[in-house]
Symmetry: C2
Subunit: 216 residues, 2 copies
Amino acid sequence: METIIPYYPAMQKTARKSRSVVRPPGRPREFDMDTALDRAVRVFSERGYHATSIGDLTAAMRLATGSVYKAFRDKHAVFLAAFERYVVLRQEQTRRAAAQGGTGRERLRNLLLSYVEHSQGSEGRRGCLVVGSAVELSAVDPVVAALVSARLETNEGFIAGLIREGQADGSIPRHVAADDTARLMICITQGLRVVGKARLSLDGKRLVAVAMKLLA
Amino acid sequence: METIIPYYPAMQKTARKSRSVVRPPGRPREFDMDTALDRAVRVFSERGYHATSIGDLTAAMRLATGSVYKAFRDKHAVFLAAFERYVVLRQEQTRRAAAQGGTGRERLRNLLLSYVEHSQGSEGRRGCLVVGSAVELSAVDPVVAALVSARLETNEGFIAGLIREGQADGSIPRHVAADDTARLMICITQGLRVVGKARLSLDGKRLVAVAMKLLA
DNA sequence: CATATTAGGAAACAATCGTTTCCGATATCT
DNA sequence: AGATATCGGAAACGATTGTTTCCTAATATG
């Protein structure tokens, strides 16, 4: 059985409660938590949670063991912080890719194309942290399971919204079932990350062209 | 770094080389390797490779530590044997599901329906060993990576074959791109297992109805 | 300049990991 | 029945895990 620590990280970096009471008299070298977490995301994505040791983590984050444990309660907390950092960045990228499109249909095509590209090459081989967490941890870690489900549902809602936008602007037929199609497209995006990690080649234009038939 | 042992299991159960030279004079309780491996598949699928300890394994397989290490070189060999056992069983199930269908189109629908059903409920929560291996091990274990890729390509070839059968019997239009559609359907099937592990509900009939539009 | 406070780093912690070894129990063959 | 070969089970192995602790080096404030 697995001991689960269902708590959030207690970062001390931004934890100066009120700067009038607790003053920061002396502080050594600069410390950038976000770039450190970005590097943690890379290791966790590539190796997964259990195969990533604290040594791997500190090497990747370029932080000493002590520094990590001063910033986070434990390994699980580092993972949760990395997960949330990953989700924020990926959501930003996805929405930006979708945004450049005149119609709902075009925005959806851009979103799918973006997913295929991120599933390829070195990033594809590294893998998606959401997919990795779903597969490796969902069954044994309720905290991660909830985060993963929430993420999938948010994504699905976003896709369903794009479909409805397309139906409003006339680029997608009214008879398309928005919710069912969105759920299937979530399967496609998650499946793309699995296939990309298995190193199978993915031709973006052709795959997306086929997928767009779901909007006919 | 991970030490990778790229060798196959050395099962001693069926390893009586020539029964005239090495005779089996005495053998204790019966030993059913296949059902033991089936139980190993369950643990590995649910927890993944790294989170499954030898203790978990022996408890699930109902074998003593010594027995496991007499039948297999190490944990990695147990995993490979379980993986191949899983692949054989799943392939059998999938082909049987597809077989009961008069046209290529019907066989494809049955295959997709079978995938949705296996991605749901307790089996869905347990997860697919191929998907799990792709996500957790492909990046660090070349042996498993090769097995996973081979499995995906076999599946993709089977689906492409069904599409071509459908085109031959007139149930699927000729203009459908068999290879591209098959690759996208592989993404759908793998994505279904990811989503199923995240406990999202899946309505088989409706999802498959949407997916069948790829054959229009 | 002196002081307080933080990150870096190494060393040590208990716990668990995968693996090996040993021996008694069990069942088959001569 | 007696000999023999295997499985079950437990105990012990070193290696590695995640975590804690202590000390040094470095810096912004008073």
